[in-house]
């Protein structure tokens, strides 16, 4: 049952439109000074939240460009999440999906924003309980490494995880990154990966595999004959990940 008159509804729409665009929108029985504060306060909520989420992007763009980005987003994108802390993710989808002038000038902009969001995402992602029984040690002979489930594996076109932004954008290429959260402190860490190790992690995410089995798969996939050498590298790799808590231990192979 409708309880609100069209007229009142229109007043409310106009109010939010004014906040989002700042363009004069006649609203009866209001005072201009108060209206301006609503525009300022709501814009600041967006600007401050985005500045906090995207410090590298904000620093990289000049002030005019940053304001253009925030303003375009605030006025042009309908934010869907009720959780303010998730709102910055919608800036990423907005930049990804829209033809923005800024993207012509900086083709890496969506990736930069995505990269910054990833850190927030991994830091805040909901806890994933580990149901499997495992031993928190690095004995990877004949056992299955247990990868810390609180991670993302991504491919980047710029080494944003390795270099300051201005250098990173000069080095387009194929980069693979494991981003994970350590279980104790909850800090986020980035590990640069070669394509072989990405392959190994992807296989492991699909089924329980020992280092031996992984070595054989890698040998077939990449045409490397010396499985002994591959095994050695894999062992070192998982031991290193264990040291950083990207791998939490091992499961006995059933």
């Amino acid at each position: 049952m409708r309880t609100l008159d069209n007229y009142t509804e229109k007043l409310q729409h106009r109010m939010t439109e004014y906040c989002r665009t700042g363009s004069p929108n006649f609203l009866p029985g209001t005072n201009g000074k108060g209206m301006k504060h609503y525009r300022r306060l709501s814009f600041n909520i967006f600007n401050n939240t985005l500045e906090q989420a995207y410090p590298i992007t904000q620093e990289f763009l000049n002030e005019k460009e940053w304001m253009e980005l925030v303003d375009g987003f605030f006025s042009g994108h309908d934010c869907q999440t009720p959780l303010l802390w998730q709102m910055p993710y919608e800036l990423y989808t907005y930049v990804e999906e829209n033809d923005l002038k800024l993207k012509e000038k900086y083709p890496f902009l969506p990736e930069l924003i995505y990269f910054e969001w990833l850190e927030i995402e991994v830091h805040t992602m909901e806890d994933i309980d580990i149901t499997a029984e495992y031993i928190p040690d690095k004995h990877f002979e004949g056992t299955v490494p247990l990868v810390n489930p609180e991670h993302r594996l991504v491919q980047l076109n710029y080494p944003l995880h390795l270099k300051p932004i201005k250098e990173a954008i000069q080095l387009p290429g194929q980069y693979f990154v494991l981003i994970f959260r350590d279980p104790e402190e909850g800090n986020v860490h980035f590990i640069n990966l070669s394509v072989v190790f990405v392959f190994a992690l992807e296989q492991l995410s699909q089924q329980d595999l020992t280092i031996n089995e992984l070595a054989i798969m890698i040998s077939e996939q990449f045409g490397v004959e010396d499985t002994g050498e591959i095994k050695k590298h894999l062992k070192g790799f998982f031991e290193d990940l264990f040291g950083q808590q990207a791998v939490l231990g091992y499961k006995p192979k059933k």
Binding site: M1, T3, L4, D5, T8, E9, L11, Q12, H13, M15, T16, C19, R20, L27, P28, G29, T30, N31, K33, G34, M35, H37, Y38, L41, S42, I45, F46, T49, F74, H77, D78, C79, Q80, T81, P82, L83, L84, W85, Q86, M87, H123, T124, M125, E126, D127, I128, E150, R181, E185, G186, N187
Partner: protein, 278 residues
């Protein structure tokens, strides 16, 4: 029994609340939207705090004054969150933060109009049903009326009565609105259903222009607001009182001192009341 004096939970002093060195509130209030769907570090911190203190919750994005439908998925998540964290009182603002399916995360002033009273009350009733509990509706600061047919007190009274909800009385907001819109704060308090108050908010504000105060929660409580608080608590039954401080944090002792001030005022008012009824 002593009056419960609480403080709004901020990430800046989560650890202090866990260690209880300088801040010793009786309860804390948190905004569910700032903690929902979060794991990792902040979930751990939240658990440490909620294990230690009774919790009230102050919603941000329910947008009870919106023209459109409630966000039912969000309501479900919210209910789960309130239950998981053993939240004792849930409050929300008498305002809206969303229209045309777009959140703007700011508390906008609902036009004080007849149809809006009915509409908001209907939505509050629905939200109460979905959450399975009463909501305490907060009087917000507003910086302009919007084609009003009535004044704020009439609007607030109308909503609370029609929705059969509780009231979260923000005394600082009464002060701010009375100043900005030129009315008498005490007379405004007199017109409220004080028996419906679930708890009280107290906070500081900022005078940005000679004739305009913005409700920032970034300053200490000023004396005239303490006096309005004293006036208020002398006219109503005992309820918990919460100090809101959202940024520009002082030394923690100063926050504790503000809580102590609130306690002293309530003790005078409510001890007297208890003695009279004995």
């Amino acid at each position: 029994m002593n009056t419960k004096i609480g403080i709004g939970l901020r990430r800046e002093f989560v650890d202090e609340l866990v260690q209880q060195k300088q801040l010793k509130p009786d309860f804390i209030e948190l905004a569910p939207e700032n903690w929902m769907k979060m794991g990792g570090y902040w979930k751990k911190k939240l658990r440490q705090v909620t294990e230690k203190y009774p919790v009230t919750s102050h919603g941000l994005s329910l947008s009870l004054g919106s023209p459109e439908e409630l966000d039912y998925d969000f309501m479900k998540e919210l209910k789960k969150f309130l239950e998981e964290n053993n939240v004792q009182i849930f409050s929300e603002h008498l305002s809206y933060t969303k229209t045309n399916n777009a959140h703007i995360y700011d508390l906008l002033p609902i036009p004080f109009r007849e149809d809006a009273v009915k509409h908001v009350a209907t939505r509050i009733r629905e939200a109460q049903e979905l959450l399975g509990r009463k909501i305490a509706i907060e009087n917000v600061s507003y910086y302009t009326p919007v084609d009003a047919e009535m004044d704020e007190a009439e609007f607030l009274n109308g909503v609370v009565e029609e929705a059969d909800c509780n009231l979260l009385l923000d005394v600082n907001n009464v002060y701010v609105n009375a100043f900005n819109h030129n009315y008498d704060a005490r007379e405004f308090i007199n017109r409220l259903p004080l028996d419906k108050v679930a708890y009280i908010h107290m906070a500081g504000h900022e005078k940005v222009e000679p004739d305009l105060i913005i409700d920032t929660h970034g300053e200490a409580i000023i004396d005239p607001v303490y006096r309005l608080f004293e006036y208020t608590v002398n006219r109503m039954p005992e309820v918990p009182v919460l100090l809101e401080r959202d940024f520009n944090f002082p030394e923690l002792e100063e926050l504790q001192q503000e809580m102590n001030n609130l306690r002293n005022i309530t003790e005078k008012a409510w001890r007297k009341e208890n003695a009279n009824t004995r």
